[in-house]
Symmetry: C2
Subunit: 339 residues, 2 copies
């Protein structure tokens, strides 16, 4: 007789890690990586060269893992999830390449992105290529329902990215604005990636919706932590990059909270550095100090954990098993990661 763990039991000891999911999906993930390498090829040599800088750059493969893990948890036993997970990763990669496009005014803040190395235009065009390849993979799979989910998600991601431009440099951005941005630009693809797992297994609409909710909450938690880590002194000590959002003038939750809790002098600091983008040596350090001492980082992290818990709750309709436990560990990771 199989032991079915109660939701409470798994919620009280959530292991915050991607490892269980990676281990469980090892051979599926290898299939995804092979397909990604195969489908990013082109007779136009610059395309695989530039794409490999970002695709093969060894991201966490978190989004494709959600497709694979959700499909497996739903009892799917075929191999269509491999191609669809690769399609999800291609959409993500195209988004990254386009998100890194810079205007002339940004160029002084050169970074080691594909755009900085090869220029905007090749990065944009290779993004288009990968985006098209993503649709080719979905078309070859043949599910109009999956195509519907991912084409809609792609449009919403673009809307989220444009909304983000509107909030950049704007300290009047509200928490609702910020949430709308991250729900669209980030959480939407997590939701779609998870949902198609249920579509593959031909599960009920309410199970599709449960997985959409799982992915959406997990994605929101993931982005909140991402925005928190950009101001993390500990990240900086570990030699990891911090301050990218600050240099871009992005108004994320840590900034919003520190701004609303700060005094006049602090608000002046945020306006100068983010609205006017007038940044001096020492400003990033002061920003890190302010978000820390105003409790903005702790609050951001607390909210991330709330979303991660909601992701876990969304898995309640599914029977316990290694996949479900691994997905819960992934949700905990999204809300509690240090990298």
């Amino acid at each position: 007789m199989a032991l079915v763990a109660g939701v409470e039991q798994v919620r009280t000891v959530p292991q915050a890690s991607l490892d269980p999911l990676s281990r469980l999906l090892k051979s599926d993930l290898e299939g995804v990586n092979r397909l990604i390498l195969e489908r990013m090829q082109s007779p136009v040599a610059l395309i695989p060269r530039l794409a490999s800088h970002i695709v093969a750059g060894g991201g966490k493969r978190l989004r494709p893992m959600l497709t694979l893990g959700c499909a497996r948890m739903c009892g799917y036993r075929g191999d269509r999830h491999i191609a669809l997970a690769a399609a999800v990763e291609f959409i993500h990669t195209a988004t990254l390449l386009h998100d890194d496009v810079v205007d002339a005014s940004d160029l002084r803040r050169g970074r080691d992105t594909a755009n900085a190395v090869w220029g905007n235009k090749p990065a944009v065009l290779v993004g288009d290529f990968l985006f098209s390849r993503s649709f080719e993979l979905m078309v070859a799979d043949g599910s109009l329902r999956v195509l519907e989910i991912l084409s809609r998600a792609s449009a919403i991601i673009a809307e989220g990215e444009v909304m983000q431009l509107m909030t950049t440099g704007n300290t009047a951005t509200t928490e609702a604005d910020y949430l709308a941005v991250i729900q669209s630009k980030t959480a939407e693809l997590f939701a779609a990636a998870s949902r198609i797992g249920a579509v593959l297994a031909e599960r009920l609409p309410k199970e599709e919706e449960a997985l959409d909710r799982f992915g959406r909450n997990l994605g929101t938690a993931f982005q909140l932590v991402d925005d928190m880590l950009d101001f993390s002194a500990r990240q900086s000590e570990l030699g990891k990059s911090v301050g990218d959002d600050f240099r871009d003038g992005k108004v994320t939750l840590p900034v919003l909270l520190a701004f609303s809790r700060g005094d006049e002098d602090e608000r002046g600091f945020w306006r100068r550095t983010l609205e006017e983008l007038d940044q001096q040596p020492g400003d990033l350090e002061r920003a890190i100090h302010l978000v820390e001492c105003r409790g903005a980082l702790a609050e951001t992290l607390a909210r991330a954990r709330t979303y991660a818990a909601a992701a876990t709750r969304a898995l309640a309709p599914f029977a316990d098993g290694p996949e479900r436990r691994a997905l819960i560990a992934a949700a905990a990771f999204a809300g509690d990661r240090r990298f």
Copy 2:
């Protein structure tokens, strides 16, 4: 008894004009324009604002007209061609927005593109939005065959655009390189737009292929004339923009021909202006003079007419009628237009 005109007869008096096609498709085109306006809406206000700069900017709507006209010529009587024509135009518009992305080094050559007005990043993201919308339209239509044709075409367009970057500033570009670029970046979408007309009408594979050939040859003719017009003194007299390709260092057929037919001094001129992008006042005028006196413009136009004639020949399997005659006039226009 209907009079069926022989191919020779129509080829000898081809009216070079888009008017017959525009007239014939007037109400279909109005439907396409309505749908375009409707589907470019978004709660994110910058999206319709920027999109309307380019979508509603009143292009020729040549590509969607090919979808509409080919579907009608094939006897299609439904209304699915409206949405698919809009999808084709959205792909074209997204490509335009991304093609205008500039790197810092290009900014001194500011032009009145969406990118120049709003910056690279909004233009790229709105392009992504329109591209996603295009797939949403196709998914709602529900034909996997159409999705296959247009997702593949999109990948090839991106390859062509990247190939074009490789030939830019390179006077060693061969005619074969140049043809590969324009076949991919331009002719592929014309081919796909035309082919789906046959798909809608459920015509035979060989008729699909005939329409693909029609669109591909027409698109090649169109791009050849486009590249010729960029050096046209007459365009300049009409107050139209010339020299965009020259300023970008693009190595198009007029340049290739003038380079290979030129003397050492002339080759030095092309190398300085296109490879080193060292351009002085008077250089564009000299370039226009050189492509003219070396017969490069006349030769480019002659080739365009050859492709236009091949487009017309590709329509041989189809019965004569107003749609076929209008498509033949459009092919003649592509090879003989002055704007």
